[in-house]
Structure formats: C-alpha cells, structure tokens
C-alpha cells in the first residue's frame, strides 16, 4: 500500500511506553507529569561527559520553543521529534507518501516511520553538533554524540509517558517548564550576570537597584532582561489567556433523540501554538544547516559570531529581536521576521488542520456521522430554513520573542447544513 512499508520490520525494535489498560486517576496523572518534569529538569542540568569548555549553542534563540539546554545531555531538546513530525506531515500532506490515516495500518506506519525518523535525527543532529563544534576528538567524539542522541531519545520516551500516563503532551510540558523557569529567573534572579558582573540578571532586582541609585533604567542594552520585557511578558500573557478562552459554541441537536442538545466548541485560536512550534523548528533546522555548512567553509546561508548568534545571511533574518532596544536598532529585520513567521504560521496551520481532519468539511462530516446526529443551528439564530453555521477559525501572526503570541491560520468557512439531511454539505471559504 505504501512505500513506507519497507520500514515495517524495523518497528519491532522501536521503544514504546505501554498504553494504560485502566483508567488513570487524577492524582496518578499529576504524579507522572511531575516525576517526568523533575527528571527532565535534572537531566537538562547534567553536562555532557567529555566536553570540557563551554560550547556555542547552535540553537540559541530557538530554545524558547525547542526546550533542552546546550552542553547537557538534553542539548537536542524536542528538536528531533518536532522535525520528524514536520517532515512526515509535509510528505503525507503533499501526497508524496500515499498513506490513508483513517486506517489502523496507515496510522501504524505513520507513527512507526515518524519515530524511526526522529531517532535517526537524534543521531544525525548530535553528530553534526559534536563534529561541527569540535566538542571532542576521536573516540570521545563518538561518546559525546551517543550521549546527546540518547538524550534526544529519552525526551521522546518521557514525552510518551506524559502523553499516555499524565496530562496533555510531554512536549508542551517541557516547553512550558522551561519557559516558566526562565521567566522567573530572568525577572527575579539576584545573581550577577556572567557577561557584565556589575549588572544583576533579574529585571526586577536590577530595576530596584537602579531606582535606589537614583537613575531608574527601564530598558537594558544587550541580552539582559529589562522592565520593558517584564511588562510585555505580562501583557502578552494576559492577552493569550483571554484569546485562548474565546470560542464559538455551535449548538447541535440530534435527529434520533429529541430534546438532546450538544455543543461543538470552536476555539478562536483553532490550531493553538502548533504553527509556531513548527515554524520555530523549521528555523532552527535552517540555522543548524547553516552551522554545518559554516564548518565546511560554505557561508551563503549566513555566518555566526563566537556566541552562536547569526551576523549575516538568511539566518540573520530568522532570529527574533530580543528587546525593544534591538528592535529600534534594526526595525527592517524585525519586519522581515514578522512577515515570515506570519506566513509560515498560516501555512502550517492550514496544513495541520487539513491533515488532522479538523477542517470544516471533515468536522461537519464527523458531526453528521457520529450518533446519526442531525446538526443544525437553533431556530432564530440564523435563517430557519437553510440553517448555517460557521467554522470560524481566525488568525493573526505573532511578533518578536518578547511579545510572542501563538498564531494560527486565518480562514473563514461557511458551512451550510440542512436539518432534513443527516450529513451536512460544506461550502467554500467565504
């Protein structure tokens, strides 16, 4: 059925966390999530054996989304898993790989191949980083590569434990864990900065210090967090909490059981943070590729300074500006970044919604099929004869790292349903 079936003998070697056979109580779910998050934090603090000096972080700038920690066992973070996901989604979405994801066989092949690809990418990315950064020589190079690759595979396993035995997805948990820790650290740390020892790391203590000295500083140059970043973090957080809760609830009623009503909620941010994760993962791969090419003297994708920040070429444009100061220095770069992110997010959101059968046509079909339901809008809310409802997935882009709003695609569909039929017909985008 598919070219991918040649890989199926390898599936039996893939590690897999078993699916719980019983209902997992709330307390147990919390425990699993907490245990995994603690282990994740612990592992992301253990430095790689065999690497002595501090290495440049190839993925700096993307850590917000990719998680992980440079120079530790978890250097790769969720990079390989997400990259494997993108590749599979693009291949299946563009029909290059002919897979029927509605069948058990199709799902198994998809899942198996995605995992194989992720494991391959763990080793590939680990080797590229170890070799390109000259982390070690000879046999030690192999040991460092294996440590990083195993770290990547462990992230995969931990993600499975959380997804199957805990709450939500492990990937989201790792991202949220890291971001929460960073927000607290950068806002409230009393420790002096490594790069400029007379400055405190935390924005709030630094502001209080400057205020006491009689010269309050709202922004700070360089990468040190300032009060402007604290302000935007709070503002963006509040906006997202509000927007996340916006939803349209489509009332449904059933032909079979009179009087029974259901609701189908459609979130304003329909695709959630997914397009943003995919976009950042794609950028990080471009950056990774640029680093690999750099070590071979090829610089058309761009060049980097000693700290791993891009200074020229395409890669210079896929880095978000880190502060208002950076934004005021290079507004054009920020604009290009903004446009690219918005366009890519729209692309990934549309692709993802179609692939996961969350599109208006698929949803309308599913709504019609399950329980022989007869979905229609309640009388009076729309024209009564040919009632219609809208799957209104809206979207907007996002900005720079200090004001990162998860984005999603903008599409307005109008589906028209006739309550005398079981299946509703879906129209085209309005």
């Amino acid at each position: 059925m598919s070219k991918l079936e040649i890989f199926s003998p390898l599936y039996r070697f893939l590690p897999e966390v078993s699916v719980p056979k019983r209902h997992i109580p709330f307390k147990e779910k919390i425990t699993w999530s907490a245990v995994i998050l603690s282990i994740y934090f612990a592992l992301s603090q253990i430095p790689l054996y065999g690497v002595s000096e501090k290495v440049m972080d190839w993925l700096s700038g993307f850590r917000v989304v990719l998680a992980g920690n440079s120079g530790t066992i978890l250097t790769l973070g969720i990079g390989p898993i997400v990259t494997a996901g993108i590749i599979m989604q693009l291949l299946v979405g563009s029909d290059i790989l002919d897979l029927d994801l509605t069948t058990h066989k199709g799902k198994e092949i998809f899942q198996g191949t995605q995992k194989l690809l992720a494991i391959f990418l763990c080793f590939f990315e680990a080797f590229a980083m170890a070799k390109g950064e000259n982390m070690a020589q000879g046999a030690m190079l192999l040991i460092v590569t294996i440590q990083m690759a195993i770290g990547g595979i462990l992230v995969m396993i931990m993600d499975e434990v959380v997804t199957k035995w805990g709450f939500g997805s492990g990937i989201s948990l790792f991202i949220a864990g890291r971001v929460s820790a960073q927000v607290l650290w950068k806002a409230f740390s009393f420790l002096p900065s490594e790069t400029s020892p007379d400055q405190l790391i935390g924005a709030v203590p630094a502001f209080i210090k400057s205020f006491i000295n009689g010269n309050p500083e709202w922004t700070r140059p360089g990468l040190l967090p300032g009060m402007d970043q604290v302000f935007f973090t709070v503002v963006v957080f509040l906006i997202i909490v509000y927007i996340e809760s916006i939803r349209v609830e489509i009332p449904l009623s059933y032909g079979k059981f009179k009087g029974i009503r259901g609701r189908y909620p459609i979130k304003f941010i329909y695709a959630s943070n997914i397009p943003m994760i995919l976009t950042v993962a794609m950028f990080s791969n471009i950056k990774l590729m640029a680093h690999i090419l750099n070590t071979r003297g090829i610089t058309w994708l761009g060049t980097f300074d000693s700290r791993g920040n891009a200074v020229s070429g395409i890669v210079d444009y896929i880095q978000p500006p880190y502060s208002l100061y950076a934004l005021s220095q290079e507004p054009f770069k920020a604009l290009v970044y903004l446009i690219m992110v918005v366009l890519l997010c729209i692309f990934f959101a549309v692709l993802w919604i179609e692939l996961t059968q969350m599109g208006p046509e698929a949803v309308a079909k599913k709504t019609g099929e399950i329980g022989n339901a007869d979905p229609w809008i309640q009388k009076g809310s729309k024209s009564s004869e040919e009632s219609s409802f809208q799957i209104h997935t809206t979207g907007y882009g996002d900005g720079w790292s200090s004001c990162r709003i998860d984005s999603c695609c903008g599409k307005l569909y109008r589906c028209s349903g006739n309550r005398h039929r079981n299946l509703i017909n879906c129209g085209h985008p309005v």
Binding site: E16, Q89, H104, P265
Partner: protein
C-alpha cells in the same frame, strides 16, 4: 447513551504540540512500562554523572 455521544464529538484528534500521533494504537515496538521508562532516564543521568566523578 446519547450524552456519551455528545461528548465524543468534542474530542480532538490525537495530537500533541504539532505532531500527529497515534499513541492509542498498539504497535509492534518494544513495550515498556512507565516505571522502566523513568528508570532508564534516571540510569542515564546517573551514568553520565558517574563518568564525570570517576574521571
């Protein structure tokens, strides 16, 4: 009975953070309990820390 159906409709596809995943499907891979998984993670951490200490 009908209520159960109502709830089912709201179910989203099996995804997590941008990845289409079918974790509820049983595959042929090497099965491990979550305890083993946690053990593997801790063991890896301990081994690397020991390597640092013993050097």
């Amino acid at each position: 009975m009908a209520k159960g159906k109502t709830r089912k409709e709201g179910a989203l596809p099996p995804t997590g953070a941008g990845l289409i995943r079918y974790f509820d499907e049983e595959t042929k891979g090497i099965k491990m309990s979550p305890y083993i998984a946690v053990g593997l993670c801790i063991a890896t951490g301990v081994i690397v820390v020991l390597l640092h200490v013993l050097r």
